[in-house]
Structure formats: structure tokens, C-alpha cells
């Protein structure tokens, strides 16, 4: 029963995430926090839970892909690419990747998003 409940909740959160893949980052206006990146609202206390602690159960496949990836082993955490609650970007902008991967920016196609060639969260070549 609990497993079903978790799966339902997971699907709900994933669905919210998928319908809000705008790639836009949200500013810091007074109402922005409720809808940042399409994430369900969180209390201030809930914002102190590390992203991965919920997403381990909420989006287990994504979590597992990340955990097994070089980002996961190398401790590149969710908020480094996606931001935190108020500036959450479901699809990180290219500039976020460039923070660490400037060398790749020089040789990769300029007209494509990084995720068009590198699978999100596992970072394997497509």
C-alpha cells in the first residue's frame, strides 16, 4: 500500500515537472516562490530538505541515473544545475553546464542544448 502511495506521489511530481519544462529561471518576486520551475510549494522548513532526499523516492529512476553518473559519484548535486527552490530550472540553461564545462562549449554544437547529445542525469552520449 505504501509503495502504491509513493508511486502515485512520484508520478504526480514527475507530471508536474514534465508539464513545466520551460527552461526559464524564476526571479525573486514575492509570488515567485510558489511556482518556481513548476515545483510544488514548500514551507520554509521543507526547503531545508536536500533535493535528493525527496527525489530518491519521488523520481527514483532519475535519482538512480544521477547517483550512478559521474555527477553522482563526484558529488555534483541537484542544485548546482537546477538551482534551488526560488530559481529552479527543470532544464538547466547551457550557461549552467558551462560553469564547469567551458572546454566542451568550445567544441560542441552552438545551436543545440547540451541535453540533445548528453542524456540528462546519466550524461552518457545519446
Amino acid at each position: 500500500m505504501v509503495r502504491q502511495q509513493i508511486i502515485f506521489t512520484t508520478l504526480f511530481i514527475v507530471a508536474v515537472a514534465l508539464t513545466s519544462c520551460t527552461g526559464k529561471e524564476v526571479g525573486d518576486g514575492p509570488d515567485a516562490s510558489a511556482a518556481a520551475g513548476g515545483h510544488p510549494p514548500l514551507s520554509e522548513q521543507e526547503k531545508l530538505i536536500a533535493c535528493a532526499d525527496c527525489h530518491r523516492d519521488a523520481t527514483p529512476e532519475i535519482h538512480q541515473q544521477w547517483y550512478d553518473s559521474r555527477h553522482g559519484i563526484g558529488m555534483v548535486k541537484c542544485y548546482q544545475c537546477h538551482g534551488t527552490f526560488e530559481n529552479l530550472a527543470v532544464v538547466p540553461e547551457k550557461s549552467k553546464c558551462a560553469t564547469c564545462h567551458m572546454a566542451a562549449m568550445d567544441k560542441c554544437p552552438k545551436d543545440k542544448e547540451c541535453s540533445s547529445c548528453h542524456s540528462a542525469h546519466s550524461f552518457t552520449n545519446k
Partner: protein, 795 residues
């Protein structure tokens, strides 16, 4: 029935260490907007750990808005960790100190005063202390995060101006044992090789280092090397605690804290017994030592390690150790084409930290895993400028700039001559080391102390003992910093300083590499660079003490603007006059050269031509190190010209297993160890003010092995009391297969008095390095309750 989202979050929270529903945390929105555009990227170094990552600060409309890595840098190849990409956000935090604050008594409230008044007070207090109580009644306590120019200038004013060697810094708490190890094993401080070996190594021996969290970008380099060569590269992780670093390990050796000297001797035993050592290398370059002046032959060393059979060591070490795993580790270490050892505080912060360092070096000397590509005995430095500013720049009580010992008259005179002050001005007696210095504060012998860019009220072990002295009105305490800290809260005078990228200067990282950061943005109005503060204080001090020699110390720096010209003049004096012909010769690394380089210069770099190649990748190797050629004594390829070994040999040490100062007993049955968490830096005064970083780990927690937790009825998130003979914490529990059974682990960043783990740690220290044994003490655990609401705490 579906689980509500809130119920789901509550359930998830209950399974994590420190997340509870019901508290409201005001979260400043500052810094959350991302930098869409940047006017200019300014190159510099990361402000945080000792890896020395090169970064570029993005500036828009005169304000820092982003950070990114520098792809051409040989330190990080463009990678940055979360702290390296986000630390700019603390620069414009509203908590920045911008006005000097003063109070006559520590029970008074601070009041804002002018810079003129603040500097007058600082000069009058230090001057009157000297006049009334003598030169050694004043002290400087600095930081491995201060720029080299700042540490150098402070120590010049204290030694040459105030005539005391009471000059210390927080690297005593983290790197002193590594210094002792390098000097006693190799004859010279700092590693022979560097990061260039990481991509060439075939075996990594990681001991006492959670590299993944403490040096995340270097860990990425190790990870890339391992994952790209899964079958041919071996990783041995030796640690009482399974950590993120263990994720890349082929072999994890887990043992009771403090037993690793036996492990290291047992590995040497296997290397000797199985004849895996390099006879020619040992014969050509090494001798065995029982004491500094007691040399023994290899036969006696063999006899010494004979008792450390793998079976005996496994019995001492416990944990998951077996005789076979020790043999396997020794064989991998010795037989690989290149082995790099890496360690940090698990080795250094120990009662016998120097010995532990020596025993690692022994393995490299025995096997010849040194001086060749992919082989090095590489101590990872904790802070960005512990090596450059403090170890090289004269920031400890017993050393002068350029790796000179205070105790050597000839070397003191060299410094006095370079400064143009009378011979004999620098006192011959080394000053007080950190723990002695704060004991002297307790004993009312230090009457005025200047604390720069560090927070001893949080970072000293057994801190409540030393807080008594700092909080008393018997000592006048000045604190220079950018944010309020537990230490500014105990000071009389707080002076607001410019932050990284708001001033100019050099950092020297783990691998002998000096890198410049040039001012890119203005500091908040009212915050000033330390070099200006020192100079202006010194001018007043000269008048208060009516001492023209203090003026002579300042003379080369008068009239220079403080953002670039002044630090440049200080660096020029230091590098050209004080490192000439020393093993850290930096004469080629001028500001002009450093500004041209993507990633600075590795010393020795006696000429600009050599510096412009990047400097010396491997010390002591003819053809790579110009000093190996200029100071060579024979035609052998390796020349050990280090100042501490007149015989020019590497020293293999006979060092026995030694217990830590405090081991568990019936009353305090657990080992306690502490360490760094990936999202935070030290005392959290900076990273706690960056929302993403704060949220990632808002509180410290105690890691408990599941077997111990079951026995004590502790569940995840329960509130647990961790108590030692010195103090206690109350922390949420993380039940985790991390620490070995019988051991708990607490991260040390939290400022809250309930979770400030240095209230619990022990202040025993290494008799040689004087570095405290933060890593091991005895404690007991008690479950107090189920999960309770907590609130992040920053003063």
C-alpha cells in the same frame, strides 16, 4: 488512498538526518537571481579549499553575479564544486561588516566608530601592552585563507616591528603535521610532485581523507582516472569511516581510529618481506633514522617492521581489516607503475600526526614511488593559502619567510637585512604555537591579540576552555573579518575587510603553485583591504611606541594605493628578497608573470623564463627543477637539496604504532571523529549565507553505525546527546553505514552551541607539530528524543 504531498515530505524528512516540519526560517532572497549576462569575466582563484581551482568571476554593473571554472587551468580543467560556483553570493550579503565596531568591555554593546578612531585604539592597545607587559604580551593569529601579502605583512610588523615571534595561524590546526612529515622525511616542506601525477597514476592510496567532500574537484580528477581505467588503476581507501570517497575504491580498509600507524608499518613489512622494495633507489637516496641524529642500517629497519606482520596489524586495527587485505594493499602500492598517496586531516590532526606522515613517506621511499611520473606522496592542503601564505610566508611562530627557522641566527639576519632593520631586531626565541598562544590568553599573559580571517571561538578543539580567555576583559582582541562570527562576538574591536576579488593578492595551493587574484569589484563601502589596515595601524604604532624601526618596516609601502600597488610592492619584497635562493624561490613569479598565466607558477621558479613555463612540476629532479641542477652535488638524477637534511638523503623512519591520547572506555565507549561536509566551508560564516549551500546541509548531525544505533535504540532523526569529558552536543542522528562500529562522526561547520562539535573534541596535540588531535577522542551517546524542529544558526 493516496499519500498527500505533505505526508510524503514528512515521511521523507523523517528518514533524513535533519529536516523537520514546523519551523519557519526566514530566507533572504538575495543572490537567487541568476546572472543572465556578464559584462566581464575576471580571472582568479577559488576562495575556499586548498585545491587552488582557477575561476572567473562574472561582473555586471560592478557587481559579482556568477562564477565559472577556467578550462586552461591545470588545477581544475574548468571544474568547480558547489562552493566554487556559488561563493560570490556572499559578497553582497547584507550581513557584510562595513563599519569598525568597538567596545571597551566585552559585556558592552558594540558601537560604530570611524576608521581613524579604530586604528588609534588598536595602536594604543598593542603599544601599551608592549610597554607595560613586554613584547611577548602581544600576538597575531592568522589564517590559511589570508593572502600571502597579508600574512607576510602582518608577520613583518609583529616580528620586525613589535619584536615578538607570537605569530601563528590556523594552518597549525590542519597542516603542521604534514609540514613536520615533509621536513623530516624529505628535508623540505611541501610535496615533491603535484596534480600532474593524478592522470598518470596507476594506484591511489587515499588515507585519512574524504577527498570527495573536502577536495571535490581533485576527487573528480581521481574519479575520471579510475572510471576511465577501471581495470588498470587501483584505488585503496583506508579510513575508519566509509565515505563518498569510498565509492571509487577497489579496496576499503576500515579500522579503529588511531590504529593506522600499525597498518602503514604492516604494509612496509609486506614490502620488505616480499622484496617489493626498490633496492637501488633506497641504496642511492635513503637512510634509516631512529632519531634526527641516530642513523641505522636497513637491516635494523627490517628488524623493526618484522613485528608488524599483517596478522598482528589486523588484530590491532580491527574493523574490516584482514592480513590478506593488508598484503593486497601493499602489493598494489609497490607494484603499480605509479602510486600517489593522498591524505588530509585523518592523518594530520593526530597526537602522532608527524609519525603518520613519516610512515606514508616511508612506503614511497622504500618502493621508489616518488619523483617519477604518476608517483608522489601528496598531502592535500585544507585551505587556499596555508602553503603559500603561512608555510612559505612566515606565518607560524617558528618560521620566517622563505622556510627559514627563527632559531637560526644566520637566517634571522638575512631577514633583518632584507627589511633594512638592525641585526638582532627579530627575537631569537620562537613564539607560542596556537594551543600555547590561547593557553597564554587564558593565563592572562597575552594582553592584546589580533585575529585575522579565522574564528578560533569555533575552530579550536575543546573550545569552551579557550573561550574563557578570549571572552575575558584581560585580553584586548581585534578581529578582522567580512562577517560576524563567534569570534567577532568575543572581540573588543571588529574591523571590516575586503573579500576575495575585492582586493589583490596571491594564494599558494597544495602543489607549490602560486596564483594571483586581481581586484575585480569594489568592497562594500567601509570595508578595507587588510594590507591598508596593517600599514595604517603600523604608522600609529610607530608613534605610540616612539620606535623608528617600525617606520622602517613600513617605509617601502608608504603612499601606495591599497588595491593593487601596495600588495604588489609587498609581493615584490617577499618574492625578490626573501625567497632568493631558498627552496621556494619565487623570483620568477612576479605579478606580471602571474597575471599572464592561466594557473600560476609552481616553485622553485628562480627566473621569469622558468616561471613562464609554469615552473617546477617535480622538485629535486634534474632537468625539471632548476635548483636540482644549480644545487646538485653529484651526477645522480635526483638531488635532495632541502634545507633540513644536510646529508641530502631521504629518511626512512622507525616509528611505532602509538595510541591516540584518549581511547574509549567503559564511561565513554565511542570514538568521536569530525570532518568537513561538501556544501560548507569551515565555520559556515560564508557558505551559511548562500541559500543553496545552507539548505543543502543546514545543520550538523551525528553519523551512527546501524549496529550501534540498534543497540542504543536510535532511529534516523532522533535527537542524540554526544558527550565527552569536555562538553556535549545535542544533534539529530543519521544512521548510516559510514563510521565503523563503535565510532561516531560529526561535521564541524555548525555554529549553534548545541551542535558545535569542538565543544566536545580534545585539545591534546602532537608533541612535534603541535597540531591538535581533532580527529580522535572518546565520547558517549544517549538518545534524548525523537526528531525535533531545528533552525539553522548563523551569528
Amino acid at each position: 488512498m493516496a499519500l498527500s504531498r505533505r505526508d510524503f515530505l514528512k515521511r521523507t524528512a523523517a528518514a533524513t538526518a535533519a529536516s523537520y516540519v514546523g519551523m519557519s526560517l526566514p530566507m533572504d532572497k538575495m543572490g537567487l537571481a541568476q546572472a543572465a549576462e556578464v559584462d566581464k569575466w575576471h580571472r582568479g582563484s577559488c576562495r575556499l579549499c586548498g585545491a587552488g581551482c582557477r575561476v572567473e568571476l562574472g561582473v555586471k554593473n560592478g557587481r559579482a553575479v556568477a562564477l565559472r571554472g577556467v578550462k586552461d587551468s591545470r588545477t581544475n580543467f574548468g571544474y568547480v564544486c558547489m562552493k566554487g560556483m556559488l561563493f560570490y553570493k556572499c559578497m553582497s550579503h547584507p550581513d557584510r561588516l562595513t563599519k569598525p565596531l568597538y567596545r571597551e568591555k566585552k559585556s558592552d554593546k558594540f558601537r560604530e566608530i570611524s576608521w581613524e578612531k579604530a586604528l588609534d585604539i588598536a595602536a594604543e592597545k598593542f603599544g601599551s601592552a608592549v610597554k607595560e607587559h613586554g613584547n611577548d604580551s602581544v600576538a597575531y593569529y592568522g589564517s590559511g585563507q589570508a593572502l600571502t601579502e597579508e600574512t607576510y605583512f602582518f608577520q613583518k610588523m609583529f616580528r620586525g616591528g613589535l619584536q615578538t615571534n607570537n605569530v601563528e595561524g590556523n594552518p597549525r590546526l590542519c597542516m603542521a603535521s604534514a609540514v613536520g612529515g615533509y621536513i623530516t622525511s624529505f628535508g623540505a616542506d611541501e610535496p615533491i610532485g603535484g596534480y600532474a601525477d593524478l592522470e598518470k597514476a596507476h594506484c591511489f592510496f587515499i588515507i585519512g581523507s574524504n577527498t570527495a567532500e573536502a577536495h571535490p574537484v581533485l576527487f573528480r580528477r581521481l574519479m575520471q582516472r579510475k572510471l576511465g581505467n577501471k581495470k588498470t588503476v587501483k584505488v585503496i581507501n583506508a579510513d575508519p569511516r566509509l565515505s563518498q570517497t569510498s565509492r571509487i575504491a577497489d579496496l576499503h580498509l576500515q579500522f579503529d581510529p588511531g590504529t593506522d600507524l600499525a597498518l602503514l608499518n604492516a604494509m612496509a613489512h609486506v614490502i620488505i618481506e616480499e622484496k617489493l622494495y626498490d633496492k637501488k633507489f633506497v641504496s642511492d637516496y635513503a637512510v634509516c633514522k631512529k632519531g634526527k641524529k641516530v642513523t641505522v642500517d636497513l637491516a635494523e629497519y627490517k628488524k623493526f617492521v618484522a613485528k608488524y606482520t599483517p596478522e598482528a596489524a589486523a588484530r590491532i586495527c580491527k574493523g574490516n581489516m584482514t592480513a590478506e587485505s593488508i598484503r593486497k594493499a601493499a602489493r598494489w602500492f609497490a607494484n603499480s607503475k605509479g602510486t600517489v598517496s593522498l591524505w588530509t586531516m585523518g592523518i594530520n590532526q593526530r597526537k602522532r600526526g608527524v609519525w603518520a606522515n613519516n610512515l606514508i613517506h616511508n612506503l614511497h621511499i622504500l618502493t621508489g614511488q616518488l619523483l617519477k611520473p604518476g608517483a608522489d606522496s601528496l598531502s592535500l592542503t585544507g585551505q587556499p593559502n596555508a602553503c603559500g601564505g603561512v608555510r612559505e610566508g612566515g606565518g607560524l611562530c617558528h618560521i620566517l619567510p622563505g622556510h627559514r627557522l627563527v632559531a637560526k641566527e644566520k637566517l634571522r639576519h638575512q631577514v633583518e637585512a632584507a627589511w633594512g632593520i638592525p641585526a638582532g631586531r627579530i627575537p631569537p626565541k620562537p613564539g607560542l604555537h596556537t594551543m600555547a598562544m590561547f593557553s597564554a590568553v587564558n593565563d592572562k599573559k597575552i594582553k592584546a591579540i589580533w585575529v585575522n580571517c579565522t574564528s578560533p571561538m569555533q575552530s579550536l578543539p575543546n573550545v569552551s576552555h579557550y573561550a574563557k580567555g578570549m571572552e575575558s576583559d584581560d585580553v584586548f582582541m581585534v578581529c578582522t573579518d567580512i562577517f560576524p562570527t563567534l569570534t567577532t562576538e568575543a572581540s573588543n574591536l571588529v574591523l571590516p575587510t575586503a573579500f576575495h576579488f575585492e582586493k589583490t593578492g596571491v594564494y599558494g595551493c597544495t602543489e607549490r603553485r602560486s596564483q594571483i587574484t586581481v581586484k575585480a569589484v569594489d568592497a562594500p563601502k567601509g570595508a578595507m583591504p587588510e594590507v591598508w589596515i596593517i600599514r595604517e595601524w603600523g604608522e600609529r604604532l610607530a608613534k605610540v611606541l616612539n620606535d623608528p624601526v617600525i617606520g622602517q618596516c613600513l617605509a617601502p609601502f608608504r603612499g601606495l594605493e591599497p588595491d593593487y600597488a601596495l600588495p604588489k610592492a609587498i609581493w615584490t619584497e617577499y618574492s625578490q628578497k626573501l625567497t632568493k635562493d631558498r627552496d621556494n624561490d619565487l623570483r620568477g613569479a612576479t605579478y606580471e608573470v602571474l597575471e599572464q598565466m592561466a594557473d600560476g607558477v609552481q616553485w622553485p621558479a628562480p627566473t621569469k623564463a622558468h616561471a613562464l613555463t609554469g615552473g617546477t612540476v617535480k622538485k629535486f629532479v634534474r632537468g625539471m627543477d632548476p635548483m636540482a641542477d644549480s644545487h646538485g652535488k653529484d651526477d645522480k638524477p635526483y638531488q635532495f637539496y632541502g634545507p633540513a637534511h644536510p646529508d641530502r638523503k631521504l629518511w626512512i623512519w622507525l616509528r611505532d604504532q602509538a595510541d591516540p591520547e584518549e581511547i574509549p572506555d567503559a564511561s565513554y565507549p565511542f570514538y568521536l571523529s569530525t570532518g568537513r561536509i561538501v556544501d560548507h566551508w569551515h565555520t559556515m560564516s560564508m557558505t551559511g549565507r548562500v541559500p543553496e549551500l545552507l539548505r543543502a546541509n543546514p545543520y550538523a548531525f551525528v553519523e551512527v553505525n546501524p549496529k550501534d544505533a540498534k543497540r542504543l535504540g536510535i532511529k534516523p532523526g532522533d535527537m542524540v546527546e554526544v558527550e565527552s569529558r569536555r562538553g556535549k552536543n545535542v544533534l539529530p542522528a543519521k544512521v548510516y553505514e559510514g563510521p565503523t562500529e563503535g565510532m561516531v562522526f560529526v561535521y564541524w561547520h555548525d555554529q549553534h552551541p548545541d551542535r558545535l562539535i569542538n565543544l566536545v573534541t580534545k585539545d591534546a596535540f602532537d608533541p612535534a607539530s603541535k597540531e591538535p588531535e581533532f580527529k580522535i577522542c572518546a565520547c558517549r551517546l544517549k538518545r534524548l528524543s525523537g526528531p525535533k524542529p531545528l533552525k539553522p544558526y548563523i551569528v
